[in-house]
Every structure is written in C-alpha cells, then in structure tokens.
C-alpha cells in the first residue's frame, strides 16, 4: 500500500479484499516430477511473489485453496504450473496458475549444482480487510452559518489550533481539511467580523467528520437583524459579553422601546440619580465613563433626564458596555466604556415611524444603485406639551420637562469587495427651562439649560483577502453647554464650547493561527472656550457636603478661559491563543499636550499669561481567558488607565490650571458557565484603585489658582452576577445583581468616605415572553440601595441672608431609603401584506406606584426632615410602523 501524503495515516481507508497468501513450499516431489539424482544441497527460494487477481462474481467472503505443481527451471523462472488439486472453482484455479507462472525462484541445487525441480505449492485465497489510501482525502469538513439567520458565512478562518493548520470558508460557508490525524483536536473559528469561537472535534479512523457551526457574527450582513451586543465586562473580546438581539432590547420593560436604554439594566450599572440619565458604572463617576460611536467620543448616551438615548437605536448595530479592564484601543476614561457601532443600512427602501406621548421618531433609508445607500433618522420630543394635558397645568414647576431632539444621517458607499466608505452626521439637542417660585425670594430658582453636540464622522473600512482589516476614521465635532441658574440673589452661569477633531485608525492581522495583532492610533484634539460667573460652589462637585436645595455660597467670581488638550495615542493589541488559553496583552502610549490661555486670575491691567505642558502616560493592559471544557471559561484582566483633566477644572479662578491626568488601576477576575446552549451564568469580581483625582482644596486660604488639587484617591471593589436566558421558545430574561463599595479620600489628612454615587446593592430581574399571535408581555423588577447623604445635626441663623445654615455630621454617613420598582410591558404586532409591520405597546413604569424617596429635605431651620419622592406610575402608550 502507498503511504499517503501529509501526516498520519492515509484516510479513508478503503476496505479491499486482499489475498493473504501462506506460502507453502513442499519439498516433496509430486507425481510426474522428474526425479533428480544427487543430494539436495539448496532448496528453491521464492524471491518474487505475484498476487493473484481475485476472480469477480463471488461473495466478498469467498475463500479458496488451490494446490499447484510448479516446475522450477535451473535458472529460477517457472517452466510449468499445473493444478494438482482444484479449489473446486476453475476461475480460482486459473487465477492461481496465472500468478504462479510469474513467480521467480532461486533455483534448487543438487550437489551444489543448480537443477530443475518440481514443487507442490498451496495457493490460498482469504478475506483481509485492508485499508489503503487512494491519495489525500477530506476527513473533516463542515459549514459555518450565522447563528440566527442560518446564513452561510464566507471568509471565516477555521483553524485546527493544535496542528497549526487552517483554512477559510468559501462563499457557501464550507470548509474542508485533508487527512486530519485521528484524535481530538482544538478547532477555532475566527475572522475580523466574527466573534471567535472554540470547540473540540474528534477524528475517528476511517470516518469523515462533517460538522455545522452556528456562530455569532459581529459585522452582520445587510439582511441580518441588527444585533445589540451588550458586554457585561470585557476581558477579552469574546470572553464575557452579553449579547442581546435588538428585538430583545426593544422588549425590555421600562425602556419604552428605546434599544439603548437596556444598558441601564445590565450588571455593574448603578441606578442613576433622579432625572439625570447618567451612567454610574462600577462605582465610577458619571464623567469617567465614556461613550463612543464608531470609535468617536460623544458627550452623552441619553438625553437630559435619561428619557431617551441620543442616537436612534435603529441605526445601532451593537452596543457594548465594558465596565472596566478594557484594552488599549480605548482610553481617556477611568470608569467604563460604552461602544456603539452603527449598522449597515439595509438595501432597498426601508424605514419606520414611531410615536408615543413623549416623542416622535422616524427613519428612512434607500439604496441608490448597487453601491450607494443613504439614510436619515430623527427624533423630536413634546413631553413638555403633552404632560400638562394629563396632569396639572403647572406640572413644569414640579418636574423638569426637557425638550430634546436628535438627528442622524448616513451615506454608505461600497467600493471594492470588502471595502466601504461611510459618512455619518449626527447631533443631539437638549433644552430645559423652568422657574420655581417661593414664598421666600431667597429660594427663588430659575434654570435655563441647553446643550448640544454634533459629529461628522468619515469611516473607511477594508477587509483584506488575507483576513486582515484596516479602518480609518477621521472626525470633527462641536459641543456646547449653556447653563444659567439663579438662586435668589446668587447667579450661576456656565458656558462651554468645544471644537473637536480627531482620528482613529486600526490595522488588524492574523499573523499565525494563534497570533493576531492590531496596531492603531487614537488621536483627539479638543479646544474649549469657557465662561463662568457665579458662586464657587455651584455647580457642585462630587464630595461637596451640601443639603439638597441648599443655596450656594454668596461669593461671586467670574472667568473666561480657553484650553486645548491634544492626545495622540498609538496602541498595540496582541491576541495569543495557546489551546484553551487566550492571552491579550496590549499597550497604549498617551502623550498629552495641555495648553491654556490663562494661568492666573485677572489682576488689574495685567495681560494674561498662558501655559502649556506635556505629559506622557504609558498604559499596559492584559486580559486572559481559559476554557475548561465546552462550558466553563475563566477570565482575568486589568491594566493601567489615565484620563486627561476636565477643561472646566482648569480655570485659574474656579479651579487649577496645573491639573494633570488622573489614574486608575483595574483588576477583574471571573467565570462564565454555559448551563445550556441558551442559559448562561457569569460571576465577576473587580477592584479599582484611583489616584490623582481632582477635589476641592479644603484650605480656608488656598493659594491663587489652587482651588482644586489632585490629592484625592479612590477604591472600588465588588462583584457582579448575571444569570441570562437568551431567546428560547419565545422567552428571554435575566437576573443581575451587583454588590460593591466605592470610597474616596479627598486628601492625605482626611478619612475614607463613601463615594456620592455609591450603591451597595443593585438588583434587576426582567423577563419577556412571546405569547404568540403577535402578543408579547414582559416585566421588570429593580432594587437599588439609596445614595449616601450627609446628616444635618444642627443649624444656626444667618442674619445677612435671613436663612438658617446646616451643621453637618459625618460625611455620607446615612443613606436615602432603597429604591424599588416593578415595571410591565405589553405589545401587539400586526403585519400587513408582508411589508408593513405595526407594533403597539403599553409600557408602565412603577406599576405599584411605589413612593421611592429620591432626596432628603428639611424645613427652614433644619429641625424637621422629610423625603421627596420620585415619579409615580408612568404609563407610556406608543406605536411603531415599519416598512
């Protein structure tokens, strides 16, 4: 048999009926043999055996024995062959004769002389299953399909990791390997647009292994539903993540159909303070968690009040929340990272329009030719007009009703195969205006607030034939915040205008089957123009000891300043796979240039003196996962992180122009266990150490331009748990629980205190079920510890301002009572003609009308206290028409 090419044994083995011949050499002479005179000094030796051709037409297990009389000449060849005893089958006899006539012997010798001799030879035909190679054979093949739509995926890298062999799926999603050795092998599926998956396959001798893989694609085809990918925490890309299909996210009760609001229900995300919509992630400040869309920073994920997200969810393909331990691709954040990726616009003409009592939104997209697609989306709110119709007409005095709108426009151009260009324009606008009258003019409060941001993002993407990928994303942006408040006689005015431009670029390539390298550049320049007039203590800062509603200090200052912060960060990320172990080291260099127009407060006629400085931060990070079997995965990671100073803190009058970057160390470890194919359990522990945080200078006589200092440190530790059932027979849901503590120490002489946003316990239970016939129902229960507050233990009378001032106890030593809420949702879908789909929903928040305290309030002399409760039952009725 021939040895196959490659390694291992030739496969498939072809069973063949072979002849295993027992050579029987009879030295006796048969009848008719010519007796040879002399002494046999050397017996004849068969040196060339010829296998007889098995006669056809017999059973596979047919055997036969033929006795032949073979005349061997004195030179060795066979002179004659006669059948001495038949096998009973002439064709077997004839076949044996034909073969024997081709035998070659060493001649016999009589008295040392070659001599002719006749022998009796037993030729036996037997069955022997023999596996032979007929050349290289495919013994491991399969098809890779997208998990939800079962669409074949081309270009997927399929690797036998332990053999360092790999191939790529064809247009039909098929792949094949030749002659894979028998045994168990580690199989890895990966690709620039794929969530890497690992499994094991066992190759058995003589058998072909055919498989079908259902994988989760990150870069979905235009016809695939958008996938909202929400990662509870990111150690390695594919390690710990919670992926929620858009339809799941839209069905979550309490989100009023806003896909992106599902983030508020994830583990590690605390409940935001009333009316803020802020993201409090793993005990970090809201400003420390950054939001990116297609790699570009935006100021907020939600509109003021947290009612709606600032980006239309239908334009979003995936959203990832990484509470900590993220890789070097992301920076300028001490807390977490929220990543939004916009979806490819669908081909053809599509769109939707939706309305409820809060706002109206819509989107339409259309293809122009085969390569160009254009889409626009927008949202406009009118809650300020509708709410008074169903409540009191002066409801605006009790509840701040923001007005907001947002818009997005996108142009996509497909260039070559795997190459595309897109232009995204987006913006968000928020406005809030109200006046609170009081019987006491010193308690008169007016508030005028407006904020908006715009981004223009150009994105070029190229997927190379070798699987490597390249993206480059230049952008420009403009943010503006105008806030004017009046607290009795004390005005507060803060205006910030920031012009931004930047560039993000990434090149990613699989160097070996177990090594992938990504190199990138994350550059951003922000030039801010700021103006502030008013009290030093308003806006308040985290760590300020203040009673809710307390008037700010009556000392007034003013400043106008500008700041330029340029941050150019090259980074490298390596993904190394060693069997079940994956290690992702990454490194980020962050040179940062900070300059400002004023280092000291204005004095007389003196000209302003500017400043500039340069700092270099190096952030190493490491993530690792280890798979144990097919269900269990261990994860660990961490790293060093830096965040540049906030331009609002760099005023020489209100802050400190010498502030530099703050720093954090993240450590995370956990486990992920697949109970079933759709039921998973995750548990993670985390610890963060923060340093060089900015806090108020506690000195009664601080130096000039030194009202803020970087002496604050922080620590955050805790654990989070997630039990999640993905869509299974119409049901999905999850239970999340986070227990944590977040502390701060304002300066070396002060004691540790609770962080203002600390929430010891956060629990969220939600479930949704498809009843069929277009009906869906869902419920959500939330529990969260109340925020820390500082107690008031006394007061004194201030005659000048005719008010009482509080005397405080230990900082953040008490808490607002915990928060409970039960929400419900019911939805009905109608389909018309296969093209039109109408969804009507009723989303009820706080179904039991629970009175949840949101703040502690006191009477005029702080001798009595009470609570202000949050929103009562809130029912939102809406509809959505898709085409």
């Amino acid at each position: 048999m021939n040895r196959p090419r490659g390694h291992g044994w030739a496969v498939p083995w072809v069973p063949r009926l072979a002849c295993a011949t027992a050579l029987l050499l009879a030295s006796s002479l048969g009848p008719g043999a010519v007796a040879q005179e002399g002494h046999l000094t050397k017996a004849p030796k068969l040196i060339k055996f010829v296998e007889a051709v098995t006669p056809p037409g017999h059973a596979p297990d047919q055997t036969a024995v033929v006795f032949l009389s073979i005349t061997i000449g004195d030179r060795g060849p066979v002179d004659d062959v006669q059948v001495q005893k038949s096998s009973g089958m002439k064709d077997y006899d004839d076949a044996a004769v034909v073969a024997a006539k081709q035998f070659v012997f060493e001649p016999a010798e009589f008295d040392n002389l070659p001599s002719s001799v006749v022998i009796t030879y037993r030729y036996e035909f037997t069955v022997r299953e023999e596996l032979i190679s007929v050349g290289p054979q495919v013994n491991f093949e399969g098809t890779v399909l997208e998990r939800f739509k079962k669409k074949p995926l081309a270009g997927v890298q399929v690797a036998i990791a332990d053999l360092s062999r790999g191939t790529e799926t064809d247009d039909n999603g098929k792949f094949a390997f030749l002659d894979v050795p028998v045994g168990t092998h580690n199989i890895q599926l990966s690709g620039p647009t794929l969530i890497t998956t690992r499994t094991e396959e066992t190759i058995v001798k003589g058998k072909k292994k055919t498989v079908k893989y259902l994988v989760e694609e990150k870069d979905a085809d235009t016809n695939v539903d958008e996938v909202v990918v929400v990662r509870a925490s990111r150690i390695k890309k594919e390690t710990v993540e919670t992926q929620i299909v858009t339809e799941e996210a839209r069905r979550v009760p309490g989100t009023q159909g806003d896909t992106l609001k599902v983030v508020q229900n994830l583990p590690g995300v605390g409940r935001s303070s009333f009316g803020s919509g802020q993201l409090v992630v793993w005990g970090a400040g809201p400003d420390d968690t950054k939001v990116f869309i297609d790699g570009v920073d935006i100021p907020a994920l939600y509109h003021v009040g947290g009612i709606r997200s600032t980006v239309n969810g239908d334009l979003v393909k995936s959203i990832e929340l990484i509470p900590g331990g993220f890789g070097a691709e992301w920076g300028r954040a001490l807390g977490g990272v929220v990543k939004l990726e916009t979806a490819d616009l669908p081909s053809g003409v599509h769109g939707y329009v939706a309305a409820d009592e809060i706002d109206t939104s819509g989107m339409v997209s259309a293809s122009i030719g085969d390569r160009l697609t254009v889409g626009v989306a927008g949202r406009y709110s009118y809650l300020d007009k509708t709410l008074p119709l169903v409540t009191s007409s002066n409801v605006g005095e009790f509840v701040p009703i923001p007005r907001y709108d947002d818009y997005q426009g996108k142009i996509e151009l497909k260039l070559r195969q795997g190459e595309k260009l897109s232009l995204l324009l987006l913006g968000s606008d928020d406005a809030l205006q109200r006046t609170l009258y009081s019987t006491d003019p010193s308690l008169l409060r007016t508030q005028t607030e407006s904020s908006y941001f715009h981004r223009l993002i150009l994105r070029y993407e190229r997927l190379m034939p070798d699987g490597s990928s390249f993206t480059i994303t230049p952008f420009v942006g403009n943010d503006q915040d105008d806030n004017t408040y009046v607290f009795g006689p004390v005005p507060v005015d803060l205006n910030v205008v920031t012009n931004r431009f930047g560039l993000r670029s990434t090149y990613r390539q699989k160097l070996e089957s177990h090594v992938t390298l990504a190199l990138g550049l994350d550059a951003e320049s922000n030039r801010s123009f700021l103006g502030r007039v008013g009290s030093l203590t308003l806006p308040s800062r985290e760590g300020d000891i203040v009673v809710f509603g307390q008037a700010p200090g009556d000392q007034i200052a003013a400043d106008n300043w500008s700041v330029n912060i340029v941050n150019v960060a090259p980074y490298a990320v390596a993904e190394l796979t060693f069997g079940d172990l994956s290690v992702t080291p990454s490194l980020r260099f962050e040179p940062t240039y900070i300059s400002g127009n004023r280092s000291l407060p204005p004095t007389g006629a003196s000209l302003p003196i500017g400043y500039d400085r340069f700092e270099l931060n190096v952030d190493p990070r490491l993530n690792a996962t280890y798979g144990i079997g097919r269900r269990l995965t261990l994860i660990a990671g961490g790293g060093l992180y830096h965040e540049p100073p906030d331009p609002r803190d760099l005023s020489p009058v209100f802050g400190n122009p010498t502030l530099g970057s703050s720093q954090a160390i993240h450590t995370v470890a956990g486990v992920s266990f697949k109970l079933t194919g759709t039921l998973t359990f995750e548990a993670e522990g985390f610890y963060k150490w923060l340093s060089d945080l900015v806090a108020r200078n506690p000195s009664a006589t601080p130096q000039v331009a030194d009202l803020l200092q970087q002496t604050e440190i922080g620590r955050i530790y805790g654990g989070q748990f997630l039990l999640r059932q993905q869509i299974f027979k119409g049901f999905f849901g999850w239970a999340t629980y986070t227990i944590s503590e977040s502390d701060r120490k304002d300066d070396p002489t002060s004691a540790w205190r609770l962080f203002d946003y600390d929430q010891t316990h956060v629990l969220s239970l939600l479930a949704s079920y498809d009843l069929g016939a277009g009906w869906q129902v869902g419920a959500r229960f939330r529990f969260a510890s109340g925020f820390p507050r500082t107690p008031v233990i006394g007061s004194y009378y201030d005659s000048k301002n005719d008010q009482y001032d509080p005397v405080f106890g230990p900082q953040n030593s008490i808490r607002i009572p915990p928060f409970y809420s039960l929400d419900a949702r019911v939805e009905k879908s109608f389909t018309f003609g296969g093209r039109l789909k109408l969804n009507v929903f009723l989303d009820v928040q706080n179904l039991t009308n629970q009175s949840n305290p949101e703040e502690i309030v006191y009477n005029f002399d702080y001798s009595r206290q009470g609570y202000i409760n949050g929103l009562p039952l809130l029912a939102v009725l809406g509809g959505r028409l898709e085409f």
Binding site: P441, D481, A557, P702, D798, N859
Partner: protein
Amino acid sequence: MRRSILMAVITLAACKPDLGPPASLISGLRVLAVRANPPEAPPSGPDAGVLYELLAVTPGGTVIGPQPAWAYCLAPTPPSENNLVSPLCLGPNAQLAPIAQAGSDGLAQLPSSTCQLFGPLTPPPIGDAGPGRPPDPDVTGGYYQPVRVDLPLNDGGLLTSFGEERIYCGLAGVTEAVASGYATGYTMNHNPVLQGVTAAVAGGSAQALLAHDGGSGLSVPAGASVTFAAGWPTGTAESFPALDPVSRLLVTQTENLITSWFVTGGAMALDEVEVPGTDTATSASNQWTAPTTSGPVHLWVVLRDSRGGVDFGEFLVMVE
C-alpha cells in the same frame, strides 16, 4: 454630568413634603435679625466703632434685655463652603475674638486683620506656601466680617446666630482708575429705616399699626384677611458703585429692599417680599390671614437692604 446634578436639584425642590409651619410663624425662641450700626465700617479710623443689636423673639413677644455673648469670627470661610461661616467658627473651640459688651448690645471695633481674612486683601501666607487667594465679594461687591452672637437658653445651652458687618477695604486687583473711581464714588452703607406698618382689613382702609408698646393694638376679626404694608422713606434704597466680576469695571447698583414678616398667629402669604433696586416703591405689602381664635398676635417686620443694612419693628394686632 454636573449640570444634570443641578437639574435634579431643581427638579425635586418643588415637590417638597409638608415640613411643618413656615418660617414666618413664630412658635419658639428665635433670632430674627442682627443689626450693626453702622452696617458698614472700616477696620480702623474714626468710623470704625460698631454697635450690634439683636432681635430675639418668642410667641410672647420680643425678648427684652437678653444677655448674649458677642464675638468676631476669625476663621476665614473656605471657598468650598456653602455656609456663611467656616465650621471653625462653631463649637466650643471656635476661633473667635470676643466683643466687649455694654448691656445687651456689643460695642466693638473690627479686627485689624479683617480685610485680609474676609476682604479683598491677600491673606497671610501659611508656612512656606505662596500668597493666598482672597475671598470673592458678594453680588454687591461687598465683603463681610462674621459676627457671632450666642443667646443663653434656660437649659444652659446656647442659641447661636451670625450677623455680618460689611467691611470697607477698598478694592484689590483692579486698575488704578477703577480703584480711584471706587474710592471717590463709594459711600458706606446706612441702615434702612422702617417707617411703620399699616393694616387694611379686607374692604377697609389702611390704618397705622402701633408699635408693640403703643397700647392694645389694631383689632381685626378672627379669620379676617388683612393687608399689611411696610413703608420706608424715599431714598432708602441707596445706589453705589460695585465691581463687575466679568468686566472688572465699576457698575452702578441700587440696593434691593427685602421685608421679612413674622407673626405669632395666623398665616402670612409670603415669608419675604423683595423690592428690587430698579423699583422706586417705598413700601412692600403682604397678606395675612388672622387666626380663628381671639387674642393678641405679635407681628415683626425686618427690613434689609442688599448690602447688609437692617431695621426692624414689632407691632401688635388684637384678634377678636
């Protein structure tokens, strides 16, 4: 974001629960005003002497002849402090400079360091640190020296209150022209003068209220709606130059006049009424609903200007 924090503050401020009677109802011993005469003084010189007076009241009327303890607070207020004074001005180990007493009023001279501790002058350095940051002025461009007054209680405790003396220190960190303009154009504050209070029962004519010691007082029916009007002479709201923090130039301001109203029975519609400086009115009105039970009701009106000047008066109303 920080702005959202403030928005939440505003959000809930109007949804307050019932926290008992308003500030205008006197239900126990309270200090209603601390008056300095003059209300503004320099730290030295012939105008430096100041007389302090206290208005302390109970449901039975003004507390006559209290024996409070007066002191100047010597701890500068940290810029991070929302309250009027530093916590170091409170408690038994407070940083204070006692004021000599003459009867129930304190006669004092401002501390020589007051313009450095609470005024626009550079504070003294601490150790090897560089020059300190002077305090910022209030909206009227003024600086104030806190004055602590402790009223002894029957249980041995103290009722602590603070007044503020506006201190004349000139301007710092301005151009010579601005400093010169301020020096020539600024007139130190004078206390406003409360000329009296009239009362008009619904549908009736206004009648002058007599001071609390002027007899039995005006009679009103139980539950009647009464309009009080507190008056002051023309020119009480003084104009003065103040440094605009944005332009760093002098602008002319006119004092706002604020009347605070306190009663021992019934209910005031407003705790305070403010007449802005742009308004030339010489009176402020407030509605009062008389209690349903008969008896005397004490009324106090405190008149303040926006530079710390104070006057006050007590009146008596008989409910029948």
